[in-house]
């Protein structure tokens, strides 16, 4: 059993491990980080792994340390995720993701009449807010539309 587990989540020598991702959101984490087929580093991920309290996803990016700004975008869809920077198989830095106050070019405005959805040479821009009643909300800096749910569905 132990051996099978190791095959699934192998330790990496250098890179970034994103842990405690909300179960089912690993692919969206890759999208939010802009990781596509053009990305050269080796990526491995596990979905619905058994965590200490509940199921979680884990993403490992080998040989690449992503910037804090890039990683904090993950908070939009998985606010409890943690970031581990690995060097020589050791965790040299461990942080919780922090919700950014502003995101650009990450999420599509849900208002189809918003100028950011047209063919203009601009990226979507949002101020990010968090409240107990509404959770995470994105306020479009062009059309002022508020996205309060389905943030993951509207990732660019």
């Amino acid at each position: 059993m132990k051996e099978k587990w190791n095959l699934k989540i192998q330790a990496i020598e250098n890179g970034t491990v994103i842990d405690h991702i909300k179960a089912g959101q690993a692919l969206n984490v890759l999208r939010i980080l802009g990781i596509s087929s053009a990305f050269r580093a080796t990526i491995s991920f596990v979905m619905n792994a058994s965590g200490a309290r509940s199921k979680k996803d884990v993403v490992k990016i080998e040989g690449k340390e992503l910037s804090v700004e890039e990683l904090n975008r993950i908070a939009l869809i998985s606010p409890k995720a943690t970031i581990n920077i690995i060097r020589d198989f050791e965790v040299v830095q461990k942080n919780n993701v922090v919700l950014p106050s502003y995101v650009e070019g990450v999420v599509r405005c849900v208002n189809s009449k918003c100028i950011s959805n047209s063919s203009e040479p601009i990226k979507s821009k949002f101020s990010v807010f968090q409240s107990e009643e509404e959770g995470v909300t994105l306020h479009c800096l062009y059309c002022e539309h508020v996205i309060s749910e389905d943030i993951a569905e509207n990732l660019l």
Binding site: N111, K113, C114, I115, S116, S118, S119, E120, P121, I122, C140, L141, Y142, C143, E144, H145, V146
Partner: protein, 224 residues
């Protein structure tokens, strides 16, 4: 017209003019234009979001013909897509207005605007009946319900006739009630209302001239 994007158009016009006044059908277009322009940009109305110069003249009209502080105002008609009312209620929240929104359910004020106003402790009431509120307000701001918002023409006819200001309706109004409208109107204010002391909409249209002159002068640095 030749398929160029707005950003290019704005960059070109920036080289020709001292100032740009832009009216555009897409939401947020003017804010984007300001990012690309090298001259001042005045929002002449963007999509269904804002119409700030209309708001300046609305505020001026209300101040001249009624009063601004603690005003009891009803806004009626298409509150969902009507950009004049969106801008106006944000501006009036600075003066502690009590606001009543009168519209059919499908054309209610967008929830994000209502939330913003409530955060600023603005008293808000929502209803679909002018009769219910006409005796309690000092200003009635009418807007046109636009036919194109309704896929079903019958539904439009029903709504259109429900929100109508007539001599009959005004019998129970405050004698000092002022009626404003950004114009053009279709049939939401009956012509018999035009000759009553309540009607302010043509004066309001006139105030748009000095207000916009002042805004142009300010933006161009002619006055401070």
């Amino acid at each position: 017209m030749k398929g160029e994007n707005l950003a290019d158009t704005i960059r070109v016009i920036s080289n020709y003019a001292d100032l740009i006044v832009l009216r555009h059908p897409l939401d947020g277009s003017v804010r984007m234009a300001a990012e690309f322009a090298s001259v001042p940009v005045i929002n002449g109305g963007d999509g269904s979001v804002h119409h700030p110069t209309q708001t300046f003249l609305d505020l001026y009209t209300i101040r001249r013909e009624s009063h601004l502080e603690g005003l009891k105002i009803a806004m009626a008609g298409d509150l969902k897509y009507g950009r004049t009312v969106h801008s106006l209620c944000h501006a009036l929240s600075l003066y502690g207005a009590e606001m009543t929104f009168v519209s059919p359910p499908e054309l209610r004020m967008p929830p994000e605007i209502v939330r913003d106003l409530q955060k600023n402790k603005i008293g808000i009431k929502e209803t679909d009946s002018l009769e219910e509120i006409i005796g309690d307000v000092e200003v009635l701001y009418m807007t046109r319900v636009q036919r194109e918002r309704f896929p079903d023409p019958e539904e439009y006819e029903k709504v259109k006739n429900r929100l109508r200001v007539t001599g009959d309706l005004l019998r129970t109004a405050d004698p000092d009630l002022k009626i404003l409208h950004p114009l053009p109107r279709v049939n939401e204010i009956s012509p018999e209302v035009d000759s009553t002391p309540h009607a302010c909409y043509f004066e309001q249209a006139f105030y748009g001239v000095p207000i916009r002159m002042a805004l142009l002068a300010l933006a161009l640095g002619v006055i401070e």
